[in-house]
């Protein structure tokens, strides 16, 4: 019966293609919009992902997410070092500073100040220069996207010249000398990221009583970072998070306090509706058109179970094709644009499963209407002209 089902399906070209187009668009919209959403959300904590070595982040108790800097006193690092189970703890500065560009305009940059001695928390990948070059006078490392983009020099003819090693720039009226170019995970704000030492960063920054953004720390071998975090909280009165806890805090903040989820959810719902209406309606019409033949098969001895299997096979076939085409189109779109633009696109396997489940739901709901119609069909209908 399977081959009869498939030939019935494929033989009606217009409806077959219509159903597949509907499901492809649904799958494309659901997958692509979700992937962009996940991409953007991942960028909200990309800094935490890039800083690999520490497994604990100590911050002011009022901090709500990674960009929410509430400075601490420099001495807090010493208190954290004194907590049992902490192997090491270092200072880190993170703040927004204005860079003066060659054409006289200003560009806000994210400046990261690393512990002077260890340089812990540096960029994950150096493209030019070495991390230790930060020890050179006025040395800074600039992220490649920023160097090519917002920090690039614009010539009178409009051509953009990327910032290179050896160039200088002005950060809050201080000279900074580019000693390296690095690659980092794109951040949510998409501002250029500049790495330097903690002491230099605090020199660049406007003078405040407290400038320490985070204390990053590592738990001793065999110690559970979560337990050590709770210990740090009790000992210092600060808030300590493991990397995953801090990521989660940031993620939840953006979910709760920004309009992003609802915007993307609307787009995903639209994709779902497109699937239900176009594919569902066309599939139902396909069944109605073939009702006479289902009735004929029923009269000739096909059981309800056999007809049920036929309709499910038809629905799952168009579902699989539509899903494959949609996910393929979304992936191709993501791969092509990710290489050329800074679009946030991340397609983890979980998203593929969710998208597949959504398409499956669309197919099964469409099939359910058709199945109901065919199950209730009296075989005597075949004698009615």
């Amino acid at each position: 019966m399977n081959f009869i089902a498939l030939k019935m399906l494929v033989g009606d070209r217009a409806k077959y293609i219509g159903i597949i187009i509907g499901l492809t668009f649904a799958s494309l919209l659901i997958t692509q919009q979700s992937a962009i959403f996940v991409g953007i959300m991942t960028r909200t904590f990309s800094f935490l992902t890039d800083v690999g070595l520490p497994d604990m982040w100590v911050v002011d108790p009022q901090v709500q997410y990674i960009e929410d800097i509430k400075p601490l006193q420099d001495t807090q690092v010493l208190r954290v070092r004194g907590v049992a189970g902490v192997q090491w703890a270092v200072r880190m500065y993170k703040g927004g500073l204005k860079a003066r560009l060659a054409n006289g305009t200003f560009q806000t940059c994210v400046v990261i100040g690393l512990d002077d001695e260890t340089l812990i928390g540096g960029p994950p990948e150096m493209l030019q220069g070495k991390l230790s070059d930060l020890r050179r006078s006025d040395g800074v490392i600039v992220d490649a996207v920023g160097a090519r983009g917002k920090l690039a020099r614009v010539l009178p003819n409009g051509q953009r010249v990327p910032l290179r090693v050896g160039d200088t720039l002005e950060l809050n009226d201080h000279r900074a000398f580019v000693v390296g170019i690095c690659r980092i995970t794109q951040t949510f704000q998409a501002n250029p990221v500049i790495y330097t030492t903690y002491s230099r960063a605090t020199t660049f920054a406007p003078q405040e009583r407290k400038l320490l953004s985070f204390v990053t720390a590592k738990a001793k071998s065999g110690e559970d970072p979560q337990t050590v975090c709770r210990r740090i909280e009790r000992a210092t009165g600060l808030k300590a998070y493991t990397r995953d806890e801090f990521k989660k805090l940031t993620f939840i903040y953006f979910l709760k306090y920004t309009g992003m989820p609802i915007n993307f959810l609307t787009a995903v719902a639209l994709g779902f509706l497109v699937g239900i209406t176009i594919a569902g309606q066309t599939f139902y019409n396909f069944t109605l058109d073939n009702l006479r033949y289902f009735g004929t098969l029923k009269a000739m001895g096909a059981t309800n179970r056999a007809l049920l299997r036929m309709i499910l096979l038809q629905a799952l076939t168009v579902g699989a094709i539509g899903y494959g085409l949609g996910v393929g189109a979304a992936s191709t779109w993501g791969i092509l644009l990710s290489g050329r633009t800074q679009i946030a696109f991340r397609l983890p396997w979980q998203l593929l499963v969710i998208s597949a489940a959504a398409v499956l739901f669309i197919c099964l709901s469409s099939a359910a209407l058709s199945i109901r119609k065919v199950m209730k069909l009296e075989p005597a209908v075949v004698f009615r002209s």
């Binding site: 019966m1 030939k7 494929v10 000739m300 001895g301 096909a302 075989p379 005597a380 004698f383």
Partner: protein, 251 residues
């Protein structure tokens, strides 16, 4: 006059035996009594035509005989099986093995080739696709189809050719009974006679009976007996007019 036939040891077995069959559509004031106590017997090897004016209950009666419609009262035994004693699934399977259908509008699945359409009853009964299509080809050859025509789709065939495919489909699984609803009404006179001739020669067999519902008086001569219906009853069973020779052309 009751339209029953008494079977004895010299006569062939009964393919269909209906006694006092009634069927009503709808309820209350909207109720329409389609069958009002039908008595009918059809012998194996016999072609019985069921004739009568529109709305007299012919289609309802063959629906009951074919097991696609339940009756309200009376007995209906087909090939020694009473539908009333069977569960729905049993009835469906019984139909699949023992009943063949020929429809007025052919009801061939347009996306299947002629051979695949004919193979459908075999596939329903569990035969593998390739074997079924191969066997369907052999049966189609009996109704005059060549290889090219077997691979044709219904819309590429003439009305007469489509009805030949439908006849092949009705007999491919060697059923005990074939029911035909107005098999010639969509065909011109000559093609209609050719189709009936084919049904007599190929579809009718020693152990197989044919019940044909028709309005078409031009094909009455192909019947072994004619049962006339009126107002939900069999009013008369008669012998057909003598056959002419003009219909003896091959398919």
């Amino acid at each position: 006059m009751p339209a029953t036939l008494q079977s004895n040891r010299d006569e062939p077995k009964l393919a269909v035996s209906c006694h006092a069959v009634t069927k009503t559509y709808g309820r209350g004031t909207a109720a329409v009594q389609a069958l009002r106590g039908v008595d009918l017997e059809v012998r194996a090897g016999e072609l019985l035509m069921l004739v009568g004016p529109s709305g007299c209950g012919k289609t309802t009666l063959i629906s009951v005989i074919a097991g696609v419609l339940g009756r309200d009262a009376g007995d209906c035994v087909v090939s020694e099986h009473d539908y009333r004693e069977m569960a729905e699934l049993e009835t469906t399977c019984f139909r699949g093995r023992n009943i063949g259908f020929v429809f007025q509008a052919f009801n061939l699945i347009p996306t299947l080739t002629a051979a695949e359409n004919v193979a459908a009853p075999l596939i329903i009964n569990g035969m593998k696709r390739h074997a079924a299509v191969h066997h369907a080809g052999e049966v189609l050859a009996k109704v005059g189809f060549d290889e090219r025509m077997m691979r044709s789709f219904p819309q590429d065939l003439s009305g007469g050719q489509q009805q030949r495919v439908a006849i092949a489909r009705a007999m491919v699984h060697d059923p005990r009974l074939i029911v035909c609803d107005e098999p010639t009404s969509a065909l011109d006179s000559e093609t209609g006679r050719m189709v009936m001739d084919l049904m007599r020669r190929v579809a009718l067999g020693k152990d197989r009976a044919l019940v044909v519902v028709t309005h078409d008086a031009r094909i009455f001569e192909f019947a072994d007996r004619i049962a006339r219906m009126e107002d939900g009853r069999i009013t008369k069973v008669e012998n057909p007019p003598p056959r002419t020779n003009e219909s003896s052309n091959g398919p």
